[in-house]
Structures are given as C-alpha cells and as structure tokens.
C-alpha cells in the first residue's frame, strides 16, 4: 500500500522561478540592440544589390540616407526611380537642401566625415543615381556609400 501512496504524490513541479530572470535577460539584450526605424518608408523596401567588397558604415550619426526605389503609392508611378528624402518623395533637385539640413545636426569638425548612404533598389536606373551624385558633388558631400548586402556578388 505504501507503494500507492508514493505514486499519488507525483513528480514535483519544475521550479520556474528563474524563468523571469532568463526572459528579462533576453529582454534587456533586445532593448539595448534595438534601433527604431526613424523614417517610415514611402517606398517599397529597396532590394539591395549584393556585393563582396562591402564596408561597414561607422558612426551612424554621420550617415544620411537617401532611398531610391518604387513608391508604395501608385500615383508616383511604378518605376523604380523615385527618391525619398526624410519621409517624403522628392526629386534630385531637393538633395542639396536635404544634405545641408542634415549638416546642421553635426558639429562643424565632423562635416567632412559625413557619409551619404544611397539605398537604391537593384532595378533602379543609373541615371537617377547619377543625378543624385551630381547634386551631392555640388554641395561637396563627397563620401558616399552604395548600400549593398554582403553576399557572393550574384
């Protein structure tokens, strides 16, 4: 009979007291690594080309991003050559003002280190990129980075 009584007790519950600690640890990790998207994209997320010779962009505060791709809103057409600055669709002519505006946010000494990252869809046309590049040259924003994901280049 004593055998039966033992069985009734059953297995002791697994101690889950440490579970919140584990979850909190994960939580803090993600909180620290999170960067919220600052601008919402008016374009479809550009399908970045892949390349092998990519370099990481350092100093995020010194990077200004220009998006090129297809607009979500069909009234802008279906081509992959729309330009987005901040959070609105713009043209290449607006690029200088955009760059000058972004310069006001950093100190004078850091301006030469500012980089413009061009996030363009792989189906965009070189013409659009060239327009942007010429405008960037006009305002002396000479460091650019063609955003690409690291891959085998195919």
């Amino acid at each position: 009979m004593s055998k039966f009584r033992k069985k009734k007790k059953g297995m002791p519950a697994v101690n889950t007291a440490a579970l919140p600690d584990i979850v909190f640890m994960l939580l803090f990790f993600f909180m620290v690594t999170t960067t919220m998207r600052e601008t919402d994209l008016k374009l479809e997320a550009p399908r970045l080309p892949s390349a092998t010779e990519v370099k990481k962009l350092e100093h995020k505060s010194l990077v200004t991003t220009i998006y090129v791709g297809k607009a979500k809103d069909p009234k802008y057409g279906t081509g992959y050559n729309r330009i987005q600055l901040n959070d609105k669709i713009a043209t290449a002519d607006d690029v200088p003002a955009f760059i000058i505006n972004s310069r006001t946010k950093v100190s004078e000494a850091e301006i030469p280190f500012m980089t413009t990252s061009i996030k363009a869809d792989r189906e965009s046309n070189v013409g659009t990129i060239t327009d942007i590049r010429l405008k960037l040259r006009d305002v002396n924003a000479l460091k650019i980075s063609y955003s690409a994901s690291k891959g085998d280049g195919n």
């Binding site: 939580l27 999170t34 998207r37 370099k55 792989r122 060239t130 460091k143 980075s145």
Partner: protein, 209 residues
C-alpha cells in the same frame, strides 16, 4: 486575532509580462548594420578645368549599355571575366610610373603582369573608366563596380602577403583596431599607394530610353 503571515505575492505571471515585452522588442528590432560599397566622389572641377591628357593605353574602358551589356576595351565581355581583365590591366606594369612630388616612381617592380606595351604603364597611372547609360540597371552597375574593386583587393592582398606576410584585409583590420600604430599605418599607406584605386565614372550617355 493574530494576523496571519503575509502570503507571498504570486509572481507566476511576471514571466508572461516579460515575454510580452520581449516579443515586442523582438519584432521592432532591426539589427542590420548598414554596409555598402564606399566611394569618394571627385570634387567639382572649376569651370575652366582642362582634363589632363591620358595615354590611351592607360585607360581601361568599361562600357555598360541600357540593355545591361558589358563592353570592355571595345569587346563584349561577361561580368565574371571582368575581374581578371581588370587585374591584368592594372598589374601590367609596362612602363614608367608617374612622377609623385617630384620623385619618379619608375617602373613597377612588384607587378606580375605581362609588361605589354598595349596595356597600362604602372598601377598608379592605370585609370579605369566606367561609362554607363542612364538606363542601365543599378544592380548591374554595382556588380561591375564590385568586380573592379575585387580586382584591386586581390592585387593589394597579394602584395601585402608578399611584403608583410598578412593579407591587406587583415592589415586594415589590425589598423582599424589600433589607429595609433604608426608602423601599421605606414604599411597600409604603402599598399594603398602601390595599388591606388582609380575608378572614374564618366557622365552617362542617354541613348535607348
């Protein structure tokens, strides 16, 4: 009546709350580090600027048309062959290098090319000119740029391995983590001046569309 001992607060749902927060941050997290092909644009030339005359043999012409077809030095080529062609051109070393700060660099001593009189004189004179059409696809354009950069990277790695025993990538990595190190800086500069990246983007044509 004596008060009963305080019962412990039930902390069972704490995990649920933490999970909820965790999932929120998981969803909003974007961990992608921005990376890309960096380029330095040339400064805007003054209006009366006369481009220097460069010998034909020192220019490696890469053309991309609006159909994304590649033409190198007047001949059709596949993108996969571009890197080797560019390497052969840069590394040719068929003549004297350019005069830098009054010092002639002389013939290229580290080049392993064919020393042909048809191709470039010296890596510091070799210019790669990319001419693309306005209608060229950006993805293809970047792939071409990438191949050209790869040619330089491979040459630099080779020279760096010969001179210092480690590849240029590792050398740069070491320099990045130790910016104060003068010896490393000199090595990086040395390799960079041996194979300077001279890729020029010509004004695109607008045929086709």
């Amino acid at each position: 009546m004596a008060r009963r001992e305080n019962p412990e607060i039930n902390a069972g749902s704490m995990a649920d709350i933490a999970f909820l927060l965790l999932i929120f941050f998981l969803v909003t997290t974007t961990m992608n580090v921005d990376s890309g092909i960096s380029k330095k644009l040339s400064e805007k030339p003054p209006p009366d600027y006369v481009p220097p005359i460069v010998k034909e043999r020192n220019i490696f012409e890469v053309n991309l048309n609006f159909r994304n077809e590649l033409q190198v030095e007047g001949e059709r080529m596949e993108i996969k062959d571009l890197k080797e062609a560019a390497k052969a051109f840069i590394d040719n070393g068929g003549g004297e290098g350019k005069v830098e700060n009054g010092v002639a660099t002389g013939p290229c001593t580290y080049c392993k090319g064919e020393k042909s009189s048809e191709s470039s004189d010296h890596p510091n004179k070799a210019i790669i000119s990319v001419l693309s059409d306005r209608g060229t696809e950006y993805g293809v354009y970047l792939k071409v740029q990438n191949e050209l950069l790869r040619a330089y990277t491979e040459l630099r790695n080779r020279l760096s391995t010969e001179r210092y025993g480690i590849s240029f990538d590792e050398l740069e990595e070491a320099y990045k983590s130790d910016r104060e190190n003068e010896a490393l800086k000199r090595k990086v500069e040395d390799i960079k001046t041996a194979y300077p990246q001279i890729i020029s983007d010509a004004e695109p044509t607008s045929s086709g569309n």
